[in-house]
């Protein structure tokens, strides 16, 4: 689960990380008032969306007057901000963060992830701040420093000082950076984060270290015990169909093809998409109905898949382990009765209670196209699409 930059900064500020003074608003007059309150003569106006690379699309601007604050805020609010991470349609900007501009002397990168290789929380730092860290890691791997944290010990002071020294900090700034790293780690641990990035971490003209941009994402499996983070969720930043799917216990991701997919299990769902692609088709979505799929759940899966107007055919591929084919079959028949489904449906059932599932579909009288196995299913999907074309 992702949160906005201003939320991340508020959170980190609470843990003692220095961030610029600033406030968020969704209205132009407020933006000017905020800038006046902050004082100074330069401000940064930053569009708040859940995507990186905002500067490239005009979502981050430095204003040298209150008029510019007004103008930039006006430009940004309501715009579809396109960044390398949003896709071509961009993302609607509803709020901006207005901050005091800082006098930057040098920029660093500081991040924290759960590293799959070490299976531990790992701090990542680089003297090449403000840049794409993956790019730095590729072109100049020596400039990316990693330090894994022993979960039984926590982030040790010496580890922080080691990182600080290796990215080139000296004197008093080593202990200042160490304090900031400890604060970040504490937040990461206590809030069940999966990723934290401070980029850039800036050394200012007056010598202070400050998090100029910050991004965090959190473990959705832990939200039951993190009510404060749960409240920060912004549904406007998420695909409405995906939100609805999650509410029904389904895992749905929209793609740009025309073959709707309803599958159980994430791995088989991906393999089903791959099989369709292998046969020259294009999947319209990823959808995992999960374990224990009730007839209602199957019905909801159909409803969500069919909200996508590009869907011309649906492939249902169920290999039941903890699921049962007869429940799935009942769900399919129920969906056909309840919903106005005009696209052809190819069904492949296997596993637990498969002998009870197929007769239910047959007896229903609906024109399900039955497939024997995965390859057969994709072949029938393509043949049916071709026949209709």
């Amino acid at each position: 689960m992702n949160i906005h930059e201003y939320q991340t900064k508020d959170l980190l500020r609470g843990y003692g990380v220095s961030v610029p003074d600033g406030r968020v608003t969704h209205n132009t007059d407020n933006a000017v008032t905020i800038a006046e309150d902050l004082g100074g003569d330069r401000w940064v106006v930053k569009a708040q969306i859940h995507a990186g690379g905002r500067g490239k699309g005009g979502g981050v601007k430095v204003a040298s007057s209150l008029d510019e604050v007004r103008q930039f805020t006006d430009d940004m609010i309501g715009m579809q901000l396109v960044t390398p991470q949003t896709g071509t349609e961009g993302r609607l900007v509803q709020r901006v963060l207005v901050e005091q501009a800082c006098d930057i002397k040098k920029e660093y990168y500081l991040g924290m992830v759960i590293d799959r290789a070490t299976q531990r929380i790992t701090m990542i730092a680089s003297a090449s701040g403000g840049m794409n860290i993956e790019e730095v890691a590729k072109t100049d791997p020596d400039r990316v420093i990693r330090e894994a944290v022993d979960p039984a010990i926590g982030l040790a002071g010496f580890q922080c000082r080691k990182i600080a020294a290796r990215i080139g900090l000296r004197g008093q700034k080593i202990s200042e950076a160490a304090k900031l790293m400890q604060a970040l780690y504490k937040c990461f641990r206590e809030q069940d984060a999966l990723l934290a990035e401070i980029n850039p971490l800036a050394e200012l003209g007056d010598g202070r270290l400050m998090a100029l941009d910050a991004k965090m994402s959190f473990d959705s499996n832990s939200m039951y015990r993190r009510p404060m983070i749960t409240e920060l969720r912004d549904f406007d930043e998420e695909d409405a169909k995906e939100v609805e799917a999650t509410a029904h216990g389904l895992n749905y991701i929209a793609l740009d093809g025309n073959v709707g997919c309803i599958v159980n299990g994430a791995g088989l769902a991906m393999a089903t998409m791959d099989s369709i692609s292998f046969h020259g088709g294009k999947p319209a979505n990823f959808l995992d109905v999960g374990g224990g799929a009730s007839p209602e759940k199957v019905g909801n899966a159909f409803r969500i898949v069919l909200q996508d107007p590009n869907v011309k055919i649906i492939l249902v591929n169920i290999f039941a382990g903890i699921n049962r084919c007869d429940w799935i079959a009942e769900g399919l028949v129920q969906a056909m009765r309840d919903q106005d489904i005009s696209v052809p449906i190819v069904v492949r059932l296997a596993g637990t209670n498969v002998e009870k599932g197929a007769p239910i579909l047959e007896a229903s009288g609906f024109p399900f196209i039955m497939a024997d196995n995965l390859d057969d299913a994709s072949t029938r999907v393509m043949a049916t699409l071709e026949a209709a074309a």
């Binding site: 999966l194 159980n264 791995g267 290999f319």
Partner: protein, 289 residues
Amino acid sequence: MSVFVHKHSRVIIQGFTGQHATFHAEESMQNGTTVVGGVTPGKGGQEHLGLPVFDTVHQAVAETGADVSGIFVPPPFAADAIMEALEAGVGVVVVIADGIPVQDMVRVKRYASDKNAVIIGPNTPGIITPDACKVGIMPSHIYSPGRIGVVSRSGTLNYEAVQQMSELGMGQTTSVGIGGDPVNGTDFVTVLRAFEEDPETEAVIMIGEIGGPQEVDAARWAKQNMSKPVVGFVAGVSAPPGRRMGHAGAIISGEADTANAKMDLMEELGVHVVRNPALIGETAQRVFS
């Protein structure tokens, strides 16, 4: 032989009296698994499925001599249950729960680092040595005893591969689901090593997914250490980058994470890579005969 679980394995179920645990414990017993009891805190002293229920794993192990535990407790309590099993000296811990907080697993792995135990999962259908021992939720009837080891991240894709094998008359020594989470108990390398050391296993099918380095690490390990052939598939060729595909681990976060990049590297390292998921069985048959 087989790997990790055998016909002499003595299995307990943690969260024994729950609905899924009950259903699958019964199914396992019908298929030859020796379940010796279970644990549900607060229900110690009762009987369930004709077997004793204990309050703690410690008691269960002392009374029954259990050496394998299947953990069916809900995700918020799973990490504690795993550590309880490890502390009690259980050698193989199978964790079915899907949705354990990642940082809980980070701590569990640290706790496990000085215990001589194997953790299978979490977020796994479990492990099965056909007709001898099943700890998990997979449909037993699609598996049959044979000479091929199967290891996968995904559950249902494991079933898919096994079904394709069965249709061609190939059985399994053991099938292991290592689970779809980014921090998990046992990685591919550990399972490959076990299959390499198992005299009955003649070949291995390894089924991966987008995200993370472990399939390629495993292929690299296999090139240097394995005498047995490995057939490999990685799901998610059609998955877009940056989107989490159901499993917490299935997300493309860098170029090396894509399914094609992984399969290309695996191929270079000598794995017999299958590009079409419908041909896992056929490829295995061709390679192994």
